[in-house]
Amino acid sequence: MTKRPIRWHIAVFLAPAVLVYTAIMIIPLFGTLNLALYGEEGFRGLRNFRTLLGDPLWSDAFWNALGNNVWFFVIHMLVQNPIGILLAALLSSPRLRLAAVYRTAIFVPTILSFVIVGFVWKLILSPLWGIAPSMLDAVGLRGLFAPWLGQEGSALTTLALISVWQFVGIPMMLIYAALLSIPDEVLEAAEMDGITGWSRFWKVQLPLILPAIGIISILTFVGNFNAFDLIYVSQGALAGPDFATDILGTFLYRTFFGFQLQLGDPHMGAAIATAMFLIILVGVCLYLFGIQTRLRRYQF
């Protein structure tokens, strides 16, 4: 019996990706986890986490940031993804003209930088020079305008909707692709059985695009719990008004790098980063083991 040769080519082809990924992702990740276990005076075990969750000075800020982050995610799930599905459904309608134009226009904000998006929306919504107050004025609804980004009650929701505006193109594209991949035979068969119009969408197309919606949800989850840029650009690192827009990313930035007279604290910062990592890990695991394994896949 001849010995099976060692398949070197697998290792060779995997090596570049594994090496690069290890160097720039895995090692820093463990570095961060390790940093969180130390303090100025040396090894602290889990005491940084006890401070983060137990000391009211830290835990109030942490729960506030986490709560805001959850709200940020909820808005995305409730607004961005349904709109994305709706747009994809409209775009895939064969009777729609200029579909490519709409598709491009809706997708373009996704490739803009956060800085531009934040700045443009801040200008649009500015009570002084903004176009929003004068547009509302033109239709006699000036009374509805408020300095939304400056009020505690509305600032976070406003920012979440700005982010939805920016990223709605991604669920639209993924679902559009999923809708296009449904073979015509399936739809025709449904038609033969008398399933048309809305019931065709609910009973045939939606079940077939559920895996795509699942992927989008998890991408949104990871993106939202890692979010930082938009808040930082439009509200600053202190995430005003009165920390109403503070999310885990801005909280991490302030703690890790310091802000103005506050010096950075890499150890507490690493503890927050670890907490973020765990939150995202738990969320992704719930999805992978709880939802994805139950999704039925269809082979055509």
């Binding site: 801040k122 400056g150 009020q151």
Partner: protein
């Protein structure tokens, strides 16, 4: 790699090194003053390079809000410039304690500065000075003099007169009485609380008492400034909650607002933007009662030091010594009216508004911002909390008493005053 090729590489590297040694040294300055880029490049650096042709200087500023974080990261990574612009007090002290800023106590130019000027960049026992003091900024109110004349208003000297003036502007309706927003938070603390506060807590007396623990932030003299700030709300423009600092600056320079709670640094920003469209004036923070001594915040704001890891310490020291000279003080004071040199040298300022600001040093007692020295060493950070509290008080979402109690509670959680 073939041998000749390797040799060739080695030779070029050596030759490049030799060639570099002939070339002038380049010093890079880290700074948060991106507004001043043109002045450094057109006035200050050419003046220095004319005297020192062997040293090139490059001014490389970052945005003010990112400066501390960016600088700390660059210093840790070893990629920071040779010359470091120093924030006052603890931020720079920390860099010095970490060995990232060099000790400059023996720099000859240090003799040109008073102890007060140097205090912002010294160790607590004053044994080592690590930055050359560059400039201070004075707080007050800049106003649109043309608008005041139009409405027949006078500069207010007391708080009551101040609100009477604001009421008069409000009633007339042509101008927004005061240009300030709470979106960026820091104006509320810096141009609000720290601007009007010293009149209540009696400048240095109150600041020292707070450090020594004989006064608390909940004492009336520390709460009253918040009570005045709470009254400002009605005089700020529509939608001030979402108004940013540049928005406020534009409102004032476009002539739409009558009063701007200011720091003197605005002079060099406003003058070219207004370009003679209207005349500006300035008044110091109004005192609570007629005849009270006035106190102003004359804050040691900018120093300049040397990266301890610079490859060119000799050139850097030469440059810093020049920054400490009377020549630089005159050049800088006039190029940037509103940044007042801290040097003992005689400086003649040409800008009338800058003259107005600096004249308050004779009439009033000077102090620095209450939260900067020692009290912002812990977490929660008193300065950052003061931003948040001041903005909340102006927006009316937190009462002055609650805000003060929260700040004192935060301070108590980590600060034990040395009982003196």
């Amino acid at each position: 790699m073939t041998r000749p090729f390797r040799l060739a590489l080695l030779t070029t590297t050596l030759l490049a090194g030799a060639a570099q040694a002939q070339e002038p040294v380049t010093l890079t300055i880290e700074s948060w003053r991106n507004d001043d880029l043109a002045i450094w490049n057109d006035v200050i650096i050419p003046a220095f390079e004319a005297q020192h042709p062997d040293i090139n200087v490059e001014f490389a500023p970052t945005a003010p809000a990112e400066y501390n974080a960016a600088l700390n990261s660059k210093l840790q990574a070893g990629s920071a410039g040779d010359i470091i612009t120093c924030r006052p007090f603890d931020a720079s002290l920390e860099l010095f304690n970490n060995g990232q800023l060099a000790d400059l106590s023996d720099l000859p130019a240090m003799a040109n500065f008073s102890d007060v000027a140097k205090s912002a960049w010294q160790t607590d026992d004053a044994s080592a000075t690590f930055c050359v003091p560059m400039a201070s900024v004075i707080h007050g109110f800049i106003y649109n003099r043309t608008a005041f004349e139009e409405l027949g208003l006078e500069e207010p000297t007391t708080v009551d007169e101040f609100f009477a003036v604001l009421d008069a502007i409000q009633e007339d309706g042509t101008y927004i009485p005061m240009a300030m927003g709470t979106n960026d938070q820091w104006e509320a603390a810096t141009m609000g609380y720290q601007n009007i506060g010293p009149n209540y807590w009696k400048g240095e007396e109150g600041r020292q008492a707070l450090i020594s623990g004989t006064q608390k932030l909940t004492d009336p003299q520390w709460v009253q400034p918040y009570e005045q700030l709470a009254r400002w709300k009605d005089y700020l423009g529509d939608g001030f909650e979402a108004q940013t600092y540049p928005d406020s600056q534009n409102l004032f320079t476009l002539g739409r607002a009558a009063i701007f709670p200011a720091g003197s640094w605005e002079i060099s920003v406003f003058t070219p933007q207004i370009a003679g469209a209207f005349e500006m004036g300035a008044f110091p923070p109004p005192v609570p009662a007629e005849g009270d001594t006035c106190y102003i915040s004359d804050h040691t704001d900018i120093g300049i030091g040397m990266n301890a890891a610079t490859p060119n310490p000799e050139a850097a020291r030469t440059f810093l010594d020049w920054v400490g000279s009377p020549e630089f003080a005159n050049l800088y004071g006039n190029a940037l009216p509103g940044f007042f040199p801290l040097s003992n040298a005689e400086v003649t300022l040409e800008d009338p508004l800058a003259q107005e600001f600096i004249s308050w040093r004779d009439e009033c007692e000077s102090t620095i911002r209450s939260t900067y020295a020692i009290l912002s060493r812990g977490t929660p950070n008193l300065e950052n909390e003061t931003w948040n509290a001041s903005a909340n008080v102006i927006r009316g979402t937190e009462t002055p008493a609650d805000a003060a109690a929260r700040l004192q509670q935060g301070l108590d959680s980590w600060y034990t005053p040395a009982q003196q």
